[in-house]
Amino acid sequence: MFDLNEAIAAWRSELSAGSVCGRSDLDELEAHLRDETDALQSRGLSGQEAFWIAAHRLGSAAALAPEYAKVDPLRLWLSRLCWVAGGILAWHVLSAVANIAASGCAYLGHVVGLTGYWLGGLAVGAQFLALGSAAACAGAVWWLVTCRRIAARAPRGSIGTWPAALAGAGAILLLTLGSVVASALQFRGMALADIGQVAVVRSIAGLAWSVLLPMLLVGLILWLRRRSWKDAAAAQ
């Protein structure tokens, strides 16, 4: 069964991708879409037919986005900058979580009697496991939030903005401190040779990661560029 509100919510989320259209822009376009849908329905079209024709007349997201982007380029770049800053912050948090896991595991490994390179291997394994699970959790949360917002049309920022921001800042501070303390504590009571071997294994893994990460990022950028070229070609 066709649900107009659901269709409009999906249409809005498609338009809001890329942060080109702000909330008030989307509200304005939605009012137009609803006016047009009503007018077409009053001429005898079904809700679904009316919605599709109205959305087609309004124009696709790929066609509208460049026009909206021209109105206020500064706002668009600021919002992109915001996403970049968010990404860097998320990476900082992920690194802190991974470091706590690695240091904690190295310490636990030492307590149960592991030595040298085994301890280093355990630390690196824990680090990557923590990175993977944190990324998976973030993905799951994002997916849940997006799906629920589309289904329920929940407005953005329904949680109080200030309490949420303070809680976020507190969590980031705690994680950063925890990461530093864990780094310092992991070597407590270890032999000097063990400390050196753990450090060697962790730095080799760090080196491999610092080579792999830029390659992955370049691959991602190329893939995104190809997608946007395809979208632009499809829009013409």
């Binding site: 822009d25 304005e28 376009l29 009012a31 006016d35 047009e36 007349r57 066609a63 026009e67 909206y68």
Partner: protein, 112 residues
């Protein structure tokens, strides 16, 4: 059908002229253009809004949100004084282009 370029170039004065008649919102402006052109002048409707927003940034029009009796919120646009001046200047240019074309296309007097 008019060319894309002509539609795009005339959007500004057409919108200003419609708003000179009184406050209006996007959907109503589109309907008016369709009515005035006898259905020949078709805009990709969503393209109207970036033009309106640009006019607003230039200080030619201003907007406010109004709730309809059915509870639907619409953004109404109104011409400002600078907008009236811009409309006068734009219409002068369009009239000039129009009169030039009319004189060029009028039948030549017979020389014989």
């Amino acid at each position: 059908m008019p060319s894309k370029e002509l539609v795009a170039a005339s959007a500004r004065p057409v919108i200003l002229a419609i708003l000179a008649r009184g406050e209006s919102y996007g959907y109503a402006i589109i309907q008016e253009v369709r009515h005035l052109s006898g259905g020949e002048w078709e805009w990709t409707e969503g393209m109207l809004y970036p033009v309106l927003h640009r006019l607003q940034r230039e200080g030619l029009i201003q907007s406010r949100w109004v709730a309809s009796p059915q509870g639907r919120r619409r953004r109404y646009y109104r011409l400002r004084q600078d907008g009236s001046r811009a409309l006068k200047e734009e219409s002068r240019q369009w009239m000039l282009a129009n009169s030039m074309l009319a004189r060029l296309l009028e039948p030549k007097p017979c020389s014989t």
